[in-house]
Amino acid sequence: MQAIILFGILLSTYLMIIAKRTPALIRSFRYQSFCLFLMTIAIALEERQIGLYIVSGLLFAMKVCVIPHLLHRIIKRIQVNENLGLFINPQLSLLLALGFTYLSWIFSAQLIPAGSKTGVSVLAIAFFMVLAGIYLMIFRMTALAQIVGLLVMENGLFLLASAVSGGMPFFVEIAIFFDVFVSVVIMGFFVYRINRLFTHIDVNKLSRLKG
């Protein structure tokens, strides 16, 4: 069961890397978060901890419903070109992503100490998500893609935390959720401002400050 969910997470991350338009990117982010939610609820059912149920509920509310909805609203309101502006085309991106997957596999196999129960594949996929997030932030030009990239990295860390140490302590987890939510709201606010002042959200063209 866990393997299928993990495969879903991996697949949705690949989908994000090859996405050409912002709505597709956000949709894949929603799939990814949903898989993550399934994963958490599976762990919660296994361990029967009330905290884990709350965390998975929050995950569903925040990352599957509220945040994608907010991002969609921003797209509608600012009405800019929906293309992501790719520096590297989808085919090459996919090849690179496969390379990243392999690298994170090697890295996590090295990392796990002898006698640990943690599966290598969970760790590898978590690190791959972090790499994929950075990739999206660097090689996609719009400000919205940077927000999504950050969220993908955060999702990767969530997976990592639940894989290696059974999640962070409960109230830390809640605080991190709150933090992520606030940061998305604030970044969205700045996207509006950038759009109003510069009439585009192409971060590659934000180059007034130098030296």
């Binding site: 990392l111 935390a161 140490s165 605080a175 933090d179």
Partner: protein, 485 residues
């Protein structure tokens, strides 16, 4: 007990900024509030660092010597920034740059920002530490983009994105630390006392990798080169009192986080590993900042690069490991905070009088703004490490410790970079302070609260260099205990 005042007062003042409409009244209340915070900060320092106790409340708040020191530094700078804000914001309102309503927003954000900074050293849980540091980024992004110009919004965007990515790496490092902790048999906890106690049992391999993530992550926030790229933009575009806070204390909170994880790393993977990484990043920061300082044209960016330089000195200081060097680095944190805030206030007055950031267009500051001019002149010497100012003492401690330890290369490189930066500073500020006044400038008066902020910091800059000679033994003793769990 004082810690509740320190955390409570900014919260109350944030609410007050929302409710009290009269700008002048609130500005005074704000200053008074931070005066109380300052005394409370000193009280915390006295209870912990000077008497050797640890304070803990509900397992959530934990203060030992290290965190109390950072709380104290923060309380000094926030008080100075509150004083300076009073005059600065009123001037902005009079000139019509911002409205009364926006000034209220400023005070609201200012207080929330201070609250989030105070939280960083006060919390015991390393996960909450992460949350608090991320909160400082989110709140201060608004203060960086406060004037809503193209430049400031661009700076705010870069700030929030680069720091958020950095901080994600820090979270990755934190998770790996907690993994190492739970693998060594600990409970599912991120509380500092628990983790520090079992540092010796943790898996070295994981800790090594985790600390790299921590250093890259919090190092971004601390402005260590080459992750410093957000820093000059944000510092130059922020409202001036906020530039002082960013440079004076925000960078130091990230250093605090690095030290916390560094102590675990030292006790698990050995001192040499920690030392090598810190000295590497420190020297890179010094090299890069000295280059940019030489060719800089913008006044506030010049000071921002100087902050990167001083962060480099601090990390070199901690990398040496000798008690003398650690004491020097701690002292340097305080000295840099007061001196740099002092310089930012001076730069703020100059920029608002000349309405320009470009140093080539600023001439004759001493005749235009006599008080600020002389203060900045003293500040330049203080910042470059001239006796009798306090930075001289902390820098010389680090250099002596490096020579005593036999790290000649480090010591010589440190001195070379300091000399280059000194030359560049004298060149830039000599041209700005002296020279002929531009024709359409008239010498103008300066607000009293601004002057008070200068004097308050100036006393710290001068007096500490002298007081320190008497309490040196206590300080070194405290620093020696720092890296022991």
């Amino acid at each position: 007990m004082q810690i509740f005042f320190i955390l409570g007062i900014p919260l109350v003042l944030a609410a007050g900024a929302f409710l009290i409409k009269k700008q002048k009244v609130f500005g005074m209340i704000n200053c008074f509030g931070y005066l109380v915070v300052l005394f409370a900060g000193f009280g915390v320092l006295k209870d912990t660092l000077l008497s050797g106790n640890n304070i803990s409340y509900f397992g959530f708040i934990y203060l030992d010597g290290l965190s109390a020191f950072f709380v104290f530094v923060t309380s000094v700078i926030t008080f100075a920034a509150a004083l300076y804000s009073f005059g600065y914001i009123r001037k902005d309102i009079e000139r019509g740059i911002i409205t009364e309503k926006k000034a209220r927003l400023y005070y609201l954000l200012f207080n929330l920002f201070c609250l989030s900074i105070f939280f960083v050293p006060a919390v015991s849980n390393l996960g909450m530490l992460w949350v608090a540091i991320e909160m400082t980024t989110l709140v201060s992004a608004f203060l960086v983009g406060f004037y809503n110009t193209k430049d400031s919004v661009e700076a705010a965007w870069k700030y929030i994105i680069i720091c958020s990515v950095g901080i994600i790496f820090a979270l990755l490092g934190t998770i790996l630390f907690s993994y190492a902790f739970s693998f060594s048999g600990g409970a599912r906890s991120l509380n500092w006392p628990d983790m520090a106690a079992s540092a010796g049992k943790m898996d070295k391999n994981i800790i090594r990798i985790a600390f790299i993530f921590i250093l890259a992550g919090y190092g971004t926030k601390a402005g260590l080169a080459p992750m410093h790229t957000w820093l000059p933009d944000a510092h130059s575009q922020a409202v001036t009192p906020i530039s002082a806070l960013l440079s004076g204390v925000l960078l130091k909170t990230a250093i605090y986080a690095i030290l916390r994880f560094g102590i675990i790393t030292i006790n698990s993977a050995g001192f040499q590993y920690f030392s090598n990484l810190m000295v590497l990043f420190g020297l890179i920061s010094l090299a890069i900042s000295s280059g940019f300082i030489l060719v800089q044209k913008d006044l506030k960016r010049l000071l921002a690069y100087s902050s990167i330089e001083h962060i480099g000195i601090i990390s070199v200081g901690f990398s040496l490991g000798a008690p003398l060097a650690s004491a020097g680095a701690l002292l340097h944190i305080f000295n840099h905070a007061v001196t740099k805030s002092f310089m930012f206030f001076g730069a703020g007055n100059i920029v608002s009088a000349y309405k320009k950031h470009n140093m080539n267009a600023i001439r004759g500051v001493i005749s235009a703004l006599p008080f600020t001019g002389f203060m900045v002149l003293a500040g330049v010497f203080a910042l470059c490490g001239f006796p009798p100012f306090s930075i001289f003492f902390s820098e010389i401690m680090i250099v002596i410790a490096a020579f005593l330890k036999g790290s000649y290369l480090v010591a010589v490189l440190l001195l070379v970079f300091l000399t280059v930066i000194f030359g560049a500073f004298i060149y830039h500020f000599g041209r700005m302070l002296f020279g002929n006044l531009p024709r359409n400038m008239v010498p103008a008066g300066e607000p009293l609260s601004g002057k008070l902020a200068f004097l308050f910091l100036f006393i710290q800059i001068c007096a500490l260099g002298i007081v320190f000679v008497f309490i040196k033994k206590d300080l070194i003793w405290a620093a020696q205990r720092l890296f022991q769990v």
